[in-house]
Amino acid sequence: MRHTTRAVLGLLALSFLPFTALQPAAEAHGPTRQKVTEEIEIAAPPAAVWKLVGNFNGWAEWHPAVESSTATAGNAVDSTRTLMLKGGGQLIENIEAYDDAAMTLKYRAKDGGALPVTNYSSTIMVKPEGAGSKVVWRGAFYRGFPNNDPPPEQNDEAAIKAVTGVYQTGLAALKAKLEGK
């Protein structure tokens, strides 16, 4: 996949909008949980892919949306990272499970943040695929608006679009970096 920098930033502008101010305090979430699964094949050994993906505090190295990252405890369970995003805003996420052997990382976002979602959790895993690897990235979340009749920018479609954008741009950039393109 080829993404010019401009195209990537365009997608990110769609993905990350400063919704923090609109997030209400914890209350009922939307009626229907949504999910997104994105996959990509990469011509690189799984260990090389996992070295990037499995470094919880190192996503600024490969995800084009991430400006910088800090984490409280590296790859340990319950480690919390703060991602500062290029489009403005931040995401605060903590590790729920980390399996080096299975090359699987599960993390969960603090409610709010830069994405128009709530109750967001995610799993990213690296698997062998032919001579290379496959990365599978899954997310589960509710839309940003917690009640009935959401505004368009906080409905189910907007939530799915935003998370899909994050995964697609991230995976494309990961592939480009690892394949040296």
Binding site: A28, P31, T32, R33, K35, A97, K106, S121, R138, A140
Partner: protein
């Protein structure tokens, strides 16, 4: 857009794959599983281990309550804001009632004529008269009601008030809240033992289960389980099975010891759970499958594909032993 509350929708006559057979065709041991993403209910024959048919229902079905004595299945659809009745012996016959709000948790009373629906958005319990197919009453409860359970004798109703971190106890005869029990953080799914002496409350945020003595209305034990637990099912051998959404697993609790004795990896993001004979049935939302777990060996015996975003939140099993003749 949703129709006005209280309006009954026309029966659906859409053909369903596999074709519903006549009333005599329903075998013992059938699961009715809500598929929130595909707006239908998977009807799974447990003995044969396959999906018999899929029944279309209004958008976003989540909650389910099987009343096997009266051969009915009730389904909530929070997106369409409806309650749907499915005739269990002829699932192609359905009718839906617009309730408004956010109907999620649902339970059927033993008398066969009352269904209780938790309205997630309007903090009330909607009481539906089945014969008249209309709303009979609305009972105000605390913030964000989720799971609903009727005691075996039908006299009490329990409602998990998620954002109050407590369970409301309602006297069904007077339709009044008669007490509360403070539990863990964000209670969601509810279960009970066969006699209703203990209530099991699954606390999503504190990763534990509160065991409530229903006579004293007090927590008698708190048991730590996996990450983000959701629902529980009681088994007659004194074990409680708990689905862990973020753990991709089930925890098996020995109730006598008040501790987890096994944790079994399952399909991802497991939600609805039930006990049927020597099986535990577990619905995986992410993998869209029903896992049949052998209660004795603690291993998955079979995985059956379901519709999209399968949930099965509530009592989703038509039990072999209780099925009407």
């Amino acid at each position: 857009m949703a129709s006005p509350a209280g309006q009954a929708l026309a029966s659906k006559s859409d053909p369903v794959p596999g074709n519903a057979k006549g009333p005599s065709a329903l075998p013992a041991g059938v699961a009715f599983i809500t598929n929130q993403g595909s707006a239908d209910v998977s009807v799974v024959d447990l003995a044969r281990g396959h999906e018999r048919l899929r029944v279309p229902v209004p958008a976003g079905p989540a909650g389910v309550a099987v009343d096997d004595r009266h051969q009915r299945v009730f389904v909530t659809s929070p997106d369409a804001r409806t309650l749907t009745l499915i005739e269990a012996t002829d699932p192609s016959h359905t009718r839906s009632l617009v309730l408004g709000g956010g109907p999620v948790g649902v339970a059927a009373a033993p008398d066969g004529n009352t269904v209780y629906v938790a309205d997630w958005f309007q903090n009330q319990l909607v009481v539906v008269d089945v014969a008249g197919w209309r709303v009979r009453d609305r009972i105000a409860v605390g913030q964000v009601p989720a799971g609903v359970l009727v005691a075996p004798d039908g006299k009490r109703l329990y409602v998990a008030e998620r954002d109050e971190n407590r369970v409301a106890v309602i006297d069904t005869a007077s339709a009044r809240v008669i007490g509360h029990v403070q539990v863990g953080d964000h209670p969601f799914g509810l279960a009970q033992d066969g006699q209703g002496k203990q209530l099991y409350v699954v606390n999503v945020q504190s990763d534990n289960v509160s065991v409530v003595d229903t006579a004293a209305l007090a927590v008698s034990a708190t048991v730590a389980v996996g990450r983000t637990p959701y629902c529980a099912a009681w088994a007659p051998d004194g074990r409680l099975w708990v689905s862990n959404q973020h753990g991709d697993s089930v925890s098996v609790i020995d109730l006598a010891q008040s501790r987890v004795i096994a944790t079994i990896p399952t399909g991802a993001f497991p939600e609805g759970i039930a006990v049927e004979g020597d099986l535990v049935l577990l619905v995986s939302w992410m993998d869209e499958e029903l896992d049949l777990i052998d209660r004795a060996t603690l291993t998955i015996r079979q995985r059956i594909s379901l519709g999209r975003n399968s949930r099965g939140f509530g009592n989703f099993v038509w039990h072999a032993a209780q099925a009407a003749p």
